[in-house]
């Protein structure tokens, strides 16, 4: 059973899923997990399926809550995206503390205005140099018009992973709104729009990778799997 609770800052949805450990009315047991990412939801499903299978084989038996939790954490940890530790980790010595390594994953800021330090930024700077009215500041390329909020919203949209075309279209619409009819400003809006249009795929892909790891880290933390040792869905 799953139901939508609220919208997360970084994710399209946060879902609370209940895993049932018994089908006996006199011995109810269940465990709630909170999921941001698909891997977490998949883990919950697989644990529930394992319990169901076990209950089918031993009708009078039931599974303790702690065991459900341990099983879920084991399943979740086994679904860790392979790129997260290498991209955001680098704190292996801390593993001596028996905490899950995701605790120390260090993510880039979810938003960074109109500069990224990437090829995207260099392309933007390169293109704007020589353009009439360029202030030299990518967040406010023309005096009096700050593009920073639109850039941040565009970053958030990419993080959400709902599709580039919509994000890029909304970005241009927001820039136009900021420009309020100023043609000089609109020239810059068009340039920014074209830059994200042409070179945005890499940033979008990267955002998806980051978001996948953010979701996983959130799932580990929210479900108290940080300190839990790996356990299987063994018999009670």
């Amino acid at each position: 059973m799953a139901f939508l609770l609220t919208s997360s800052l970084f994710s399209a949805s946060e879902e609370v899923i209940t895993i049932y450990g018994s089908n006996l009315s006199f011995a109810p047991s269940d465990w709630n997990v909170v999921c941001y990412g698909a891997a977490c939801k998949g883990s919950a499903d697989s644990v529930q399926a394992a319990i169901d299978e076990m209950l089918r084989r031993a009708v009078k038996d039931f599974v303790e809550e702690e065991e459900i939790a341990a099983s879920f954490c084991a399943a979740l940890k086994s679904s860790e995206p392979s790129h997260c530790e290498s991209k955001f980790g680098g704190h292996n010595s801390m593993s001596l503390l028996y905490k899950h390594s995701s605790v120390w994953w260090d993510f880039p800021s979810a938003t960074n205005g109109c500069g990224t330090g990437s090829f995207f930024e260099s392309a933007l700077s390169s293109r704007l140099t020589g353009t009439n009215g360029f202030t030299g500041d990518l967040d406010e390329p023309i005096s009096g018009f700050s593009f920073e909020p639109a850039c941040n919203n565009h970053d958030m949209c990419y993080n959400g992973g709902t599709g580039r075309n919509g994000c890029d279209g909304s970005f241009y619409t927001e820039l136009q709104s900021i420009c309020s009819g100023s043609h000089e400003c609109n020239d810059f809006a068009k340039l920014y729009s074209a830059i994200v249009d042409v070179f945005g795929q890499e940033a979008y892909n990267e955002a998806a990778l980051v978001q996948e790891c953010r979701d996983f880290k959130n799932d580990i933390a929210k479900n108290r799997c940080v300190n839990m040792q790996v356990a299987g869905t063994g018999n009670t």
Binding site: G133, G169, D187, K190, L191, Q201
Partner: protein, 282 residues
């Protein structure tokens, strides 16, 4: 006699929209066209001088004020020298056929709406893509004229600049994808050798961005040029038909309804035809 023949051509190889052939001394170029001050004068240079002598270049013809005007039944393209006809044919192809079977009177109307005269073609030829983009960035305040004393059309310059940047991009792209054609989505990143766009392609893309930035939304030719850009569908998973058709429909509206555009949409975006018609009358 020293003379210069200026021919309008869409240069498919280098993306230029106009080339010049000089017979000897560059100093003796035909004088820079005088800048027009009223839109009603915009047709003089090209349209009133489409004489029957197809061996002459447009600039030479333009000086012959006694040329016989086109008859109503004659199309604009019929009156051009062969190479000029080819050039306008290619421009027509890039502009979705709006110059198809056009008469003198109709072309005059298009020029009044910002479409290029030979002066505009000539002006574009003097700059490379990025130079012209930067030049346009300094001349936006007198839009739709290029400057306060000029009848050079800003919309024509910006649109031609974008179209030649797109032509240049297509040419570079065909080096890697020989079958690549105008009007089709640009290859996605993973499709390129080693999974990334070659430097040559990135350079062509940067030029295109430079040109795109100064194409506004206020005239039909600018919207048509933008529709060509939208066909590349950089951020779309499909062919970006909605945005292409939106640009075409707005251009259609500004043109007061264009049968050639309607025909293009009917042929290439049949499932968007109702959307096109709806937007055209909004």
């Amino acid at each position: 006699m020293n003379k210069i023949i200026v021919s309008i051509a869409i240069a498919s190889v280098c993306g230029g929209l106009l080339y010049k052939a000089y017979d000897s001394e560059p100093d003796n170029q035909v004088e820079q066209p005088k800048l027009r001050s009223a839109s009603s004068e915009k047709s003089d240079y090209l349209l009133q001088n489409l004489a029957n002598d197809s061996s002459k270049g447009l600039e030479v013809l333009a000086q012959d004020k006694s040329s016989v005007p086109l008859k109503d039944s004659e199309t604009f393209l019929d009156g051009l020298a062969e190479r000029d006809r080819d050039a306008f044919g290619q421009a027509n192809e890039r502009l979705f056929g709006v110059l198809e079977n056009i008469s003198e009177e109709d072309y005059q109307k298009l020029i009044d709406k910002g479409f290029p005269s030979t002066r505009d073609f000539d002006f574009v030829s003097k700059y490379d893509i990025k130079e012209l983009s930067n030049t346009l960035s300094y001349n936006g305040s007198t839009y739709p004229s290029f400057d306060k004393d000029s009848s050079i059309s800003y919309p024509a310059l910006s649109s031609l600049n974008l179209l030649r940047a797109l032509a240049n991009l297509e040419e570079v792209t065909r080096y890697y994808f020989p079958e690549y054609q105008q009007g089709t989505p640009f290859p996605k990143s993973n499709d390129w050798p080693d999974g990334e766009r070659p430097a040559q392609v990135v350079e062509a893309l940067m030029k295109m961005i430079s040109a795109y930035g100064f194409v506004r939304d206020d005239s039909a030719i600018e919207l048509l040029a933008q529709a060509r850009y939208q066909q590349l569908a950089f951020s779309a998973d499909d062919n970006n038909a909605d945005r292409v058709v939106e640009k075409l429909a707005t251009a259609n509206k500004l043109l007061g309804g264009d049968d050639n555009l309607l025909s293009f949409v009917t042929q290439h975006y049949p499932d968007k035809l109702d959307y096109f018609k709806e937007l055209s009358i909004e």
